[in-house]
Symmetry: C2
């Protein structure tokens, strides 16, 4: 497993020098990765099997293992490729808040485009350059705020977590069925609440008062709370710095 991790790191980070002996490979890691992304975008990460991806090229399952050590590594490549180049936010004016907001929105956008990236990015996995770049980009929005390094990193975790959390609720279903399934699910919950409402009085009241319209606000609402709270901390730091001077 250690070797596999190294190989994976190499695939994600290194140059892929072609050996000189032997026949030319018919495929490239990039092509395979792209095919995997295509399948995952269209049918979800569960549809991505070695068989399926190889089949996209009319090749046998085992041929893929000449390019990639295993499925885990393929998924890691897919993830880092799908994330794409990290956003450059230096052009955005107005301080840390609009920058970090923009960052969160871009993360949302890319997650919306590749919902399977959520599943693909759980746990301690080999991290790719784009993923690290996204983190760097977020950290960069906060370097001039007077926050400590730990605070900045913790903040990035909170914001990332929020975007992911909202995405997970909204995007888990393959887009094709989303409307139907979601509606069905909502109906089931409503039904349960109607039947067992006395056991969940607060929830019942809240849902009754919640307008059916206010649905997609979760991302913005949470982000605003988080950034408001962060603003208080930053203001504190500024004040302290002023006193100390």
């Amino acid at each position: 497993m250690a070797k596999s991790a190294d190989r994976s790191i190499e695939l994600l980070w290194g140059d892929r020098a072609r050996p000189s002996r032997g026949p030319k490979p018919a495929l490239t890691v990039e092509q395979i990765t792209a095919a995997g992304i295509g399948v995952a975008d269209a049918e979800g990460l569960a549809a991505v099997s070695m068989q399926r991806v190889a089949g996209e090229f009319g090749f046998t399952t085992m041929s893929l293992y000449r390019y990639v050590p295993g499925k885990a590594e393929l998924v890691a490549l897919m993830l880092d490729t799908a994330l794409g180049e990290p956003p450059v936010l230096t052009a955005i004016t107005g301080g840390w808040r609009p920058r970090l907001t923009e960052w969160a929105e871009r993360l949302w956008t890319v997650t919306e485009k590749h919902p399977w990236s959520l599943e693909a990015s759980v746990g301690l996995r080999p991290i790719g350059p784009n993923e690290l770049g996204w983190t760097d980009s977020a950290v960069g929005t906060l370097t001039a705020t007077g926050l400590t390094g730990s605070e900045i990193l913790d903040t990035v975790v909170v914001v990332t977590g929020h975007v992911r959390s909202i995405a997970q609720q909204t995007l888990t279903i393959p887009a094709a069925q989303r409307g139907l399934t979601e509606h069905q699910w909502a109906a089931t919950v409503t039904d349960l609440l109607r039947t067992h409402g006395d056991r969940f009085p607060s929830l019942l009241a809240a849902m009754a008062s919640a307008t059916a319209a206010g649905q997609d606000k979760g991302l913005a609402f949470g982000l605003e709370r988080i950034l408001d709270g962060l603003g208080l901390l930053i203001a504190d730091r500024v004040r302290q710095a002023a006193i100390r001077r």
Copy 2:
């Protein structure tokens, strides 16, 4: 799939009336669920297979299907059982903030005890009474704040998301290997940063300034920011209400 959902709802919510004809079942759904939880606690959700759970009783794989329609339903039962009775927070004084903080900490505690619950609770799945109860409990901490129903629900989403997000980073690895793997992973990332540091200047600086000690603060840090920000909104609502009166 719809039928399966119904059956699942029935299992989670209904009384399980025993039929009067035929031999007595040797097992109960509760026993099976508990066995599944035991396996998942000890070896992770991936170790939970029908074979494995049946084996815990010395039964064949297929015997489980007499009790549970399929693996998805078993996992749903495991999740709702593992969550346990939702917390009752009425005894906690000091208003919404200490109550919601306590709620988050209890969610953290139960997640720590059953880390696999994270994996088990993604997507639109049949929701159980305990899970709904936990949500109700969280909503209950905010009913007296002047927030609208939508705002309360969105807030619960944010707080839940944060706890889950921190948990996912900390608890993904089975406890046994956690120290080692985590250390290894950190070493790999440090290595990458050393090698490619110029590509990630902000991150490098932040990690250098971050004391190695400040690691488990993520939960508290993020929660405080969120609640600080929420506090501003609630204060606003109180002010508005005062004006209007």
